[in-house]
């Protein structure tokens, strides 16, 4: 007889779901990158050198570097943060994590309790909304424009909260290649954000997961570079540049915060091989590799835009982002993307519906299309199918491939 766990589980625990059935054929969701750009040969060489030198250290937790993570990789991250994001830091102020998801969880665990308030960009990483909702935290959304977070709206939000006696726990900011809009916040707004945050005594939680993926290979300094008070907690990852399956992220913060995060981590260290490999690979190859990836990704974005233009015509709105791996697209009136995502998903075309990635009023008109992973022919075919499905379901777009349906 099968043992029944149900009476032992908290009420409302969902039943076990289905087993994973593979990726959808037309996969426009998830932070995957381009398989062709994974630098397999250089990674092999780096991994082999690192294992030959330090392999015996696998016998001890922490690779002789302690719970902050493998020191040579921390040194590379500090160097990269200086050169890419203008942050003057050292290996001592880096904590390596198992992906930036763990970084986010740690910061939330340190700072948040149910009933707390945080300020977020109105459209945002869907996973952040999910985590904050689970934690019972109130989110105050700040609207965006074509350059990113609006500082007048941020000021208003902070003033309103102050008037109600509420001190938010942080401002969550994905401002360098915003998710999902892809915008990069201009320098003057960055200075303004720090000024406002400082005035209200609110820390900034800066998430730079996509900040290396910029077509021009240039970007403004990070918020953490513009502040010397320690009020900015900065996180990043190697997921979007070397590979998401590696699960290597990092936190850069002053010790007052970082030391507490190290204590909270409590997982006996993040896995060794990725840290060893990236530390060996990074100094020699990372910069050139990122430039190569960016060229490939911009080409894929152009292909996506061409396909969207061809199959959706003028019925949709979007702005070509300066970087990132997604296009944020507004569909014609009458379309609800939560429904579209469901119907399309059943036919092998996976897209993120707006309501998962935005709190704005018209969220259900938007979709997020991730373009980094599918090969260009699959992008083209997938968008054609999506337009057809959309037409079948909602009657729009009317025009497809210059042929009236």
């Amino acid at each position: 007889m099968t043992f029944d766990y149900a009476p032992l589980l908290p009420q409302g625990t969902p039943a076990a779901g289905q087993r994973w059935a593979g990726f959808p054929t037309y996969n426009f969701v998830g932070g995957h990158i381009d398989n062709e750009t994974v630098p397999v040969d250089d990674l092999r060489a780096a991994m082999d050198r690192a294992l030959a030198r330090d392999g015996a250290d696998l016998a001890t937790y922490y690779l002789q570097s302690g719970p902050q993570g493998y020191k040579p990789l921390r040194a590379f991250v500090a160097d990269k943060l200086k050169r890419y994001a203008g942050i003057d830091t050292t290996a001592d102020d880096i904590l390596l994590t198992s992906g930036s998801l763990q970084a986010m969880d740690l910061v939330n665990k340190l700072l948040l309790a149910p009933g707390d308030t945080v300020i977020v960009e109105e459209s945002n990483y869907g996973g952040a909304f999910t985590k904050l909702n689970k934690l019972g935290v109130n989110m105050v959304p700040v609207p965006l424009d074509e350059h990113g977070m609006r500082m007048d709206a941020l000021e208003q939000a902070l003033d309103d909260l102050a008037a109600r006696g509420i001190r938010p726990k942080y401002i969550f900011a994905i401002i360098t290649v915003h998710n999902p809009t892809g915008t990069i916040l201009p320098l003057d707004r960055r200075h303004k954000m720090i000024e406002l945050a400082k005035k209200h005594g609110v820390p900034i939680f800066e998430d730079e997961c996509y900040s290396d993926i910029v077509w021009s290979n240039e970007r403004p300094p990070a918020l953490r570079a513009l502040d010397d008070s320690g009020m900015v907690i900065h996180i990043g990852t190697f997921s979007k540049t070397v590979g998401p399956a590696l699960r290597v992220g990092y936190i850069n913060a002053d010790w007052d915060v970082l030391g507490r995060l190290v204590a909270l981590k409590g997982d006996a260290g993040s896995p060794a091989l990725e840290q060893m490999m990236l530390a060996e690979y990074g100094p020699a190859h990372f910069d050139d590799h990122v430039k190569r990836c960016n060229a490939v990704l911009e080409g894929k974005l152009d292909a996506l835009i061409e396909a969207v233009d061809q199959h959706f015509g003028t019925s949709v709105e979007y702005r070509k982002p300066p970087g990132g791996i997604f296009l944020w697209v507004k569909l014609p009136e009458g379309v609800t993307t939560s429904r579209l995502a469901k119907v399309a998903g059943e036919q092998g075309v996976a897209v993120n519906p707006g309501p998962e990635w935005s709190l704005q009023g018209d969220a259900d008109r938007w979709i997020r299309l991730c373009f980094a992973n599918p090969p260009i022919p699959v992008i083209r075919d997938g968008i054609a199918r999506l337009a057809q499905i959309c037409h079948d379901e909602f009657g729009v777009p009317e025009i497809s491939g210059n042929v009236r349906r």
Copy 2:
């Protein structure tokens, strides 16, 4: 001016601790293994083959295997569980985790709420006590004898709880190379444990972290092998056989439970390289490797015992365990090991004091000595120093190296 986080943190959040200062000179704590036994060359070859074949898959989360983890490694784990522990299972019922700590956290997250009750072996993995205390769970300890958990005491505990209307959430069982005593529970007690658990409708959480480290290379079937109702949730790890820095553990359970744990994991997968490497390394090398390690480790245990005999003489009590990486030692009357651990730690000799690893009345007479990592000369020197420190602090042992102090 430095930003002050204190007003934003929950009351009682400790300040940031000191940075890691390296391992102690005489390190008898922590689940480290012997550096010399790490099979570096075979791991290099395995890693390189795996990367050459599947490296491009780093571009996607989950290595084409879904959130349960890399399927070839799940297949190897299933095979190993069958051959070593007698469990008839498949890759479909394995969830790969970031170390067995994550496995433990997931099971606890699924089953436990504050105020719940669990049954534990009276002496136990210190980290389990810490986790359960943090979760606000009541622990009912079951005494051990020279063979492990006493079934008469387990029956009594279950009956007492039933009489009070309490259904424990699980029985936590490290019965195959118990931590810290090293005992292996005999087969008849295993059958009895299942019978008792079934009678009371209490699942068993079986933790087999050390079960491959057995001098005879033979062990009784796991509890999960002896039950066909799904009431046993089984976890294990590669930490003690290949290396703790890898952070690769696993959970083996029926889908009713496993599917829920997969959903709770939510970390976008455990890191890829370790899974790829172990899947490639395991089938060809794991069995021989474990036998080699066990021979080395028994030699180190013998050296430890010789040193303990030499420097502590008959003032201490212990039983040579049939496997594992630690010796559980009772010190002479008058010694309090919580104090000894503190004083010795300040002098570079790290040991686990009994109260961290046991709820038994005389816990403060016991220490746990991990012997896998220090080379034999360091073991000898460290035990000599520990005896000297113990003598200086408590006046015992009187005899050291056949010389009265």
